[in-house]
Structure formats: C-alpha cells, structure tokens
C-alpha cells in the first residue's frame, strides 16, 4: 500500500545546505580532483573542478556569495556528478553530496526551471509518463529520420528539428536509439517463472531500457531463465528518480523512491536487479540518504538498498552463472559507466562475463573508467563540453582497434553510439548482457 508520509522529521543534506559544511570542511584543497575531472580537463578554469566548486559552496554558506548568482547557478550544474574526483580524493570528501545539496538548495530558493517542472511532473506520474513516451514513439517519425543499422532502429533529428536542437547537440548528425513502439514492460508478464529457481529477483528495468532498449531487457530475461532465476517485473515501478534528484527536485525524488520501494515489497523477492549503474546507485545509496529521516521508509530503504544487485554481480558473485559456449567473433572493449564503477563498485564482473564468451578478444582501452560525457542530461545542457569529453573517450576506444564497445549503462550506450558514429569507426555499442544472451542463443543454433 502506498503510505503517505509527511516531510521527514530529520533533515538531510538535501534539506539543509548547512549540513554540507561537514563535507566542505574536509576538503584540503590539494587539487587531486584536477587530474581526473572530465569537465576541468576540457575547460581548465578552477570553477570547473571539485576543489573550486567546494570553495564557492563555502562562500555561499558564509554569505560571501549568493546562491542564486547566475554564475553560481551555472557552476553548480556544470558537473556530471561522475564521482571521478571522489575516487581520487585523499580526504574522501563526498563531493556528490555537496553538489546535490547545492542543487536542492537552489531549487528550494528559486523553484524549478519551468521546462524541468513540466518534465519532472510527468516523470512523477508513471501512467502519464508511459502514455507520453508511447505517443512520442508513434510521432517520432516527424522529428527524426530512421538511420540504417544492422542491430537496432536508430534515428537522427530531421532538418527543422535539427536546426532548433543543434545547440543541444541534437544536430542532424546525432544518432540515437529510436523510442520503442512497445516498451519493455509491455512485452513481458508480471512474473517469469522457472522450474527450480535458485533465487528470485525483481527486475527494475529503468526508463532507458524500458523505452529505448527493450531488446536489452528481453536479453536479460533470457539470461535469467538460462540460469534458473525467477524474475518479477513489477509493472508499478517508476523512474528511479536520479534524474530529478540530480536537478535538485528532492521531494519528487522521495516520492518516486517510496513508490518504488512499495513496488519491490509487493513482490516478495530476494533481490532487486538492475541493468543500469545509475538506477542501481540511486536505489542502493541515494534512497537511503534521501529517506534517512523518514521513520517508515528509512528502514525500508536500508533493507532494499542492501539487496540491490547489478546483473553482473548477480551472475558472477551470487549465482555463479553458467558459462556460455556459443561463439561470437568480435574484438570487444569495455567502458566503465561512472555510476556502475564509482557508485556501485562493479567493474571486474562485467569484464569476467565478456571474457567468458568464446570467440571474443577483449582489449582494455586506456582510462576505461573515464566519463563518456553523457552525464544523463549533461550532454544536452552542455553539448560543447560533453562532446569534448565524448571525443576523448572515442579516441581511447579507437586506439584499441575494437569493433564492439560493451558497457553496463544505457545512458553511456546512447552517448557512445552517437560518438562512435561521429568520431569513431562506427563500432557496435552493446550492453554486455546482450553479448551473453547472444552467446547462449548461438548454443542452440549451430553456426555454419
């Protein structure tokens, strides 16, 4: 049942910026963040790097700068929250908390920008969101032309829309996955049962898999069936909330978190399964933080947070998946999604899965965990910097000679797809799950 709770009694970082001071105080200003920040690497002014942003945040708290100074606003959103700086921070400053609490404080003070208000209002209401995405799919031919590809329906913006969208990187050269005519969750039953399940999971598909990559969702169901895992696909799951949380809309994020937790509870499964590091990190960590002051949902967020597994964790660490024997002849490199590696700590397992597929030659790229520049909506709001970051990533991919880029995040996949088309050798971009599923399928159809 959906329990209505009042505003949490205990305040978190995201309700009171002053609470971020504890994190701010820990920054030694050593500057190690400069070595890894993708934004700073592109535009080397101190305001772009964590150390500088922390100094500005401190000045805001001390009343030396206004929170709604246009440059402060610009600075706060010129960050992909990729957490690379946190990986490299000797003082272990939780920079993501500082950044997100700044955004939340800004939204409290100024309200949401009207465009975000409309979009986030839709995300909050899953039925409305779903209808919108389906309508979008049927009309997408007006704005986008189909782009030929052997593995997926891809689209590019058509001329008039490309002209409007060119300042957001949506020019006519951009390639994107098309909106699926039938979303993933409409293609599958509530529960996919197997004979003797080793474990039961609720699959949190996330919006990208549901609307853009339903085939990846189907591949995952296939993999789970092969490994005797019972899958529940709660139809009342919502967006994970990271997109709204990252833009400072804390209350909408909390609403979504509670709804999703309710959806998991109704299934009675052992684990929540994700195939996206961003959704996974949000479910695993952000829900606990967001709901930490909520007497009812706080403990539930803790319970479920401890039971979030990314697909490769489930396969490699928990159920010891069956090694595939179907041959795929490909040279594959793997891109670490920031949230999958730096938030969820998952990076060895996907590689292990890829390497277990017969026929695949695995080639590590230089800096595989450098951000791809997508950052959710960052690539749309900051197309120039996003593109520079994306170009560096593709240059690293190109130098491996790989023909396939595997990753564990649909957001990264979209960025990599576009950039491999623009600056790469049109490498195939796949979720690593699709490689495993394909290998399982090839076991049954003998190759010529």
């Amino acid at each position: 049942m959906a329990v209505k709770t009042k505003t949490p009694t205990k305040k978190t970082f995201f309700d009171d910026l002053e609470l971020a001071r504890k994190e701010i105080d820990r920054c030694m200003k050593c500057g190690n963040c400069m070595a890894v920040c993708p934004v700073y690497t592109s535009d080397k002014s101190e305001m772009n790097v964590a150390r500088g942003k922390i100094a500005v945040c401190e000045a805001v708290l001390d009343g030396e700068l206004d929170l709604d100074d246009p440059l402060v606003y610009k600075m706060i959103f010129n960050c992909l929250v990729c957490k690379s700086c946190m990986d490299n921070c000797p003082a272990e400053v939780n920079f993501d908390k500082i950044m997100l609490s700044m955004r939340a404080a800004l939204v409290r003070k100024k309200g949401l920008f009207w465009v975000k208000k409309i979009i986030f209002g839709m995300i909050k209401n899953q039925k409305l969101f779903n209808t919108g995405m389906k309508v979008g799919s049927s009309f997408s031919g007006l704005a986008f032309r189909d782009y030929d590809s052997d593995n997926q329906r891809l689209v590019s913006p058509r001329a008039p829309f490309a002209f409007v969208g060119r300042n957001m990187g949506l020019d006519s050269n951009r390639v994107m996955p098309g909106l699926a005519g039938k979303p993933f969750r409409d293609r599958v039953p509530d529960v996919v049962k197997v004979a003797n399940p080793t474990t039961k999971v609720a699959f949190f598909s996330g919006c990208s898999t549901n609307y853009f990559y339903p085939e990846v969702g189907m591949d995952i169901i296939e993999i789970l069936k092969e490994n005797n895992v019972e899958v529940h696909i709660p139809k009342d799951q919502n967006c994970c909330g990271l997109a709204v949380f990252a833009h400072g809309d804390v209350e909408t994020a909390r609403k979504l978190a509670r709804k999703n937790i309710d959806a998991f509870e109704r299934t009675g499964v052992d684990y929540v399964l994700v195939s996206c590091g961003s959704c996974g990190g949000c479910l695993e960590h952000d829900y606990r933080e967001l709901l930490s002051g909520d007497p009812v949902y706080g403990p539930k967020a803790e319970y479920w947070g401890a039971r979030v597994l990314e697909l490769s964790e489930l396969l490699v660490d928990v159920i010891k998946y069956r090694k595939p024997t179907g041959r795929i002849d490909a040279v594959v490199t793997y891109h670490d999604s920031c949230h999958l590696k730096k938030t969820m700590g998952v990076f060895t397992q996907p590689r292990e899965i890829i390497k277990s597929i017969p026929g695949i030659t695995f080639r590590e790229m230089s800096k595989p965990d450098a951000c791809c520049g997508s950052g959710g909506s960052y690539v749309l709001t900051h197309p120039k910097t996003g593109a520079e970051i994306g170009k560096r990533k593709i240059a690293d991919v190109n130098s491996t000679g790989a023909d396939t880029i595997a990753t564990g995040c649909p957001g990264c996949a979209m960025q990599l797809l576009d950039f491999s088309h623009r600056y790469g050798n049109d490498q195939k971009v796949v979720h690593y799950a699709s490689l495993l599923a394909e290998s399982y399928r090839r076991e049954k159809t003998p190759q010529q």
């Binding site: 200003k29 500057g31 190690n32 070595a35 942003k53 500005v56 003082a91």
Partner: protein
C-alpha cells in the same frame, strides 16, 4: 580594486574569454593547497596563451603597479599562489604544450602549464623519464614545480627539480624576455640563471618556457618493506644502506604514530607496535645489479633486527606501497586541518629528528604523524587539527615553531621541498641570518624594483 580600463586592456591582450573577473571565479583562485593560510580574492584572473601576451601583461601591471601572481595548478604547500595583496593571477593552464622531445640530446622543452605526468607519459614511449616526482605529479605543472624547486620520493638517487633544468625563457618585471641555457650538457656562460630562477617562487620573473633533462628509465626494480622495534634500528639501517654503497631510488620512513593511523584506516597488515617502518626500492638497468643491491639491503636490515618483506610480484609491490600512499588519506580523516611540513635534516640526524617530532607532539598535545624521505633527510611531520578549535590551532602553531627550531638545531633547513612562500617567511631569518636576508632583498630589488612579482612571499620587502 583594479581600474576597469585595465580589465578591458587585458581582454584585448588575451581575449575576453581568458579574463575572469566575476566574484565566483575569483573565489576559486583565492587559495592554493596550503592549509591554515589566509585566503584573498584577486581582482582578476588572466590566462595568457604565449610569451608575448605575458610580456604585454607584465608591462600593463608594471605601469599600473598591479601585483602579479603566476599560478600553475595551485598545488603548492607554502601558500605560494595566494594573491595576498590582490591584483592579478596569471594562470598558465593554456600554455600547456610540450614543444619538443629530443631523444638524441635527451631533453624536453615545454611550456609552463604542462602537467608533469603528461610529460612523463609522453617520454615513457622512448624509454625515458623526467625524474622529479612531487606527490602531485598528476596535477602539478612544470612551471609551478620549477618555480618551487619541487622534490619528491626519488630525491636521494635522482635529485630534485633543479638538477633537471637546463635552460629557460623568463619574462622579467621590466617586460623583457631573456633566454638562457639550452640543450648542452655543459654551459658556464654568464651567471647560472637557471639556478636563480628555479625555486624563485615567482618573485623574480615569470617562467614561460623550460628545457629539462631526461634520463633513461630504470628497467628493473625491487621493493622491500622493513619494520623495526626501535627508531635507532631504523635510523641505523638508513645509514647502513648508504654505507653499503647502495643508493635506493626511494627510501621512505614512517613513524609509529603514522603506522597506527594507516593501519587503523587501510588495514594493510602493518604491525601496530613497530617504532618505524622503511619502504625501500632499488632500481637499475641490469637485473643482476638490482638483485645484488636488494641482497645488500636485506643484510643491513637483518643486522639491525628489522623484519623484512620483499615484493615478489607487481601486485605485491603495489601492496607494499599502498601503506605509503595511505599515509596522507589516513591522517586526513582525523581532522579538518592537515598541515604538512617539510623540515629537513642531514640524513644522519633522521633518528634524532623523529624523536624530536614525537616529543613536540607530546609537549603541545597535538597529533603529529611523521613520514617522509629518510634517504635524503626530508621528513613530513604532518599535524592534524580541527581548524575551528582556536586553542588547538594555537598549540599547532607553537609546535610548528618547535619543529623548525629542531631542524635548524640539527644542521637542517626549514624547507626541503615545499618552498617558503607565506608559510615559512618568518623562519627565513633563523636560517639565513640578517646578511642572508639582505642578499635576498638585493636580488629582489634589482630584478623587481616595484615589487609586483608575487608580493608578500619569500622575503619581506617594503611596499611600494
């Protein structure tokens, strides 16, 4: 406040987008990596793209008596980049090109904004290295590290920055450009200007190009870790290794306080009760020589009752070094103020200095973890405190005074590798005396008569 016309002129010189004057931007150039320093907002930040632009900027600054603060990555530990008297910060992040790598003469010529690691990544392809390796190699710039004469972990065997600078281009306070030195190994023409500007901390002129020496990278290395029950045993081991005519590439020491803090934080399996720990790496071109040196080190360690671990793989080497890498992060967890000093003593005085640091910590009731480069006598007594606790900070300052007094009493120096900047200006006289300070002032006044080059650093000079 700088006149608006000056800002407009700066925009003409370097382009509008390379002049930052909004308060938010200025806030992010008000500090560097030094703890417990005053922060000050500059009036403007300028990012020149070449030497001629630097000259025009210096002319403009001199005509208007505006202080200039050259800044690389702002990672120094002496307050060297802080715009103490307002004015303009000159950020070199745009002048970041590696101009030439000469594999016949073994030199590299770079612009000041090149990150040290980037140079090393490039020359590694030729089997070469640029050895100076301050803890900030992945961020610090060549210009900054030359201006600060940075050291690093390899100082004992490979020396420090000044041993690798062969030539420079410098823009003087009068706006004129001078070039000296070059690709020749030998050069005794004129005064040794390189050694004047290396370590000048931006107070004499602005470095706009550097030609540095490169050396072939060692092909083999062997890492070892030794723990000791007494400080004397550790100290005797350091002396014994050198006496055995082995010069390790790195010879690092950690005191008991640091060992306990690191172990508590990183759980790397260090013995809590060890009085000291040495991390030793020998390297060289021939495997057999490296092996002989490692065996010699082992003998010295055993002779001094040390407990030795030898890394037999890259993974084990990495594990041994993780203890050293964890030192700063582990200490940083304990307080909001992390003051890393670099008092340095003759190698033979290391044990005495470690004992003195432990005594100073006790006397002032502050936390000091001491670790550092035992081989070259360069220690890092690191003081951890709560920056908002005024009483504790007063005790910290008293402890810092005592640390420098101790280093000088052992025939050492107040700064081994971090520089003077703002942080150690008041101790300069203790080491140089009045006449030494007078010499500093003469040089400063000759080269920078209006005191516009990084004022408020290194030497107290009359305000103009």
């Amino acid at each position: 406040m700088i006149d608006k016309a000056v800002i407009e002129r700066l925009k003409e010189i370097v382009g509008t987008s390379n002049v930052l004057s909004q308060k938010v931007d200025l806030m992010t150039y008000s500090y560097d990596a030094t703890a417990d320093m005053p922060h000050e907002l500059p009036d403007v930040v300028v990012m020149p793209g070449g030497t001629e632009e630097v000259q025009s900027i210096v002319d403009l600054a001199r005509e208007n008596k505006i202080p200039i603060y050259p800044r690389g990555a702002g990672t120094n530990l002496c307050g060297g980049c802080i715009p103490l008297k307002q004015g303009m910060v000159l950020s070199f992040q745009r002048m970041n090109k590696i101009l030439d790598v000469d594999t016949e003469n073994l030199t590299a010529t770079v612009q000041p904004g090149v990150v040290i690691q980037e140079l090393n990544d490039l020359v590694a392809k030729h089997g070469l290295i640029y050895p100076p390796d301050p803890g900030t190699v992945t961020t610090a710039t060549m210009g900054g590290s030359v201006a600060e004469n940075s050291g690093g972990l390899r100082g004992l065997k490979y020396g420090v920055t000044k041993h690798y600078v062969m030539g420079m281009e410098v823009v003087l306070a009068n706006g004129k450009k001078v070039r000296f030195g070059g690709k020749t190994v030998k050069n005794v023409t004129a005064y040794d200007f390189s050694n004047l500007f290396v370590g000048s901390e931006g107070t004499l002129g602005i470095i706009t190009e550097i030609t540095s020496k490169l050396i072939p990278a060692a092909r083999h290395h062997q890492s070892m870790m030794a723990t000791f029950k007494t400080l004397e045993d550790a100290g005797n081991t350091v002396a014994g290794i050198i006496a055995a005519q082995v010069i390790p590439a790195t010879l690092e020491i950690m005191d008991n306080e640091t060992i306990r803090i690191v172990e508590n934080y990183a759980k790397v399996g260090l013995p809590d009760d060890a009085a000291a720990l040495l991390l030793i790496e020998v390297d060289g071109m021939a495997e057999s020589v490296v092996q002989q040196e490692a065996e010699a080190v082992q003998k010295v360690v055993e002779h001094n009752h040390g407990d030795l671990k030898v890394a037999t793989s890259e993974a084990e080497r990495d594990k041994l070094w993780s203890a050293r890498r964890s030192a700063l992060p582990a200490l940083a967890q304990l307080g909001s103020c992390v003051i890393i000093e670099d008092a340095t003593v003759p190698r033979s005085m290391i044990t005495k200095m470690l004992v003195a640091c432990a005594g100073i910590a006790k006397k002032h009731n502050v936390t000091i973890g001491t670790f550092g480069h035992a081989g070259d006598g360069n220690l890092h007594p690191t003081i951890i405190a709560d920056k908002n606790d005024r009483d504790e900070m007063a005790r910290v300052h008293a402890a810092v005074d005592d640390i420098f007094a101790a280093a000088l009493s052992f025939g050492g120096t107040v700064s081994g590798e971090h520089g003077i900047g703002i942080a150690k200006m008041k101790y300069l006289k203790d080491e140089l005396g009045e006449n030494g300070l007078g010499l500093m002032k003469s040089i400063k006044e000759a080269l920078d008569p209006y005191n516009i080059m990084n004022p408020g650093k290194m030497i107290p000079v009359q305000e103009v």
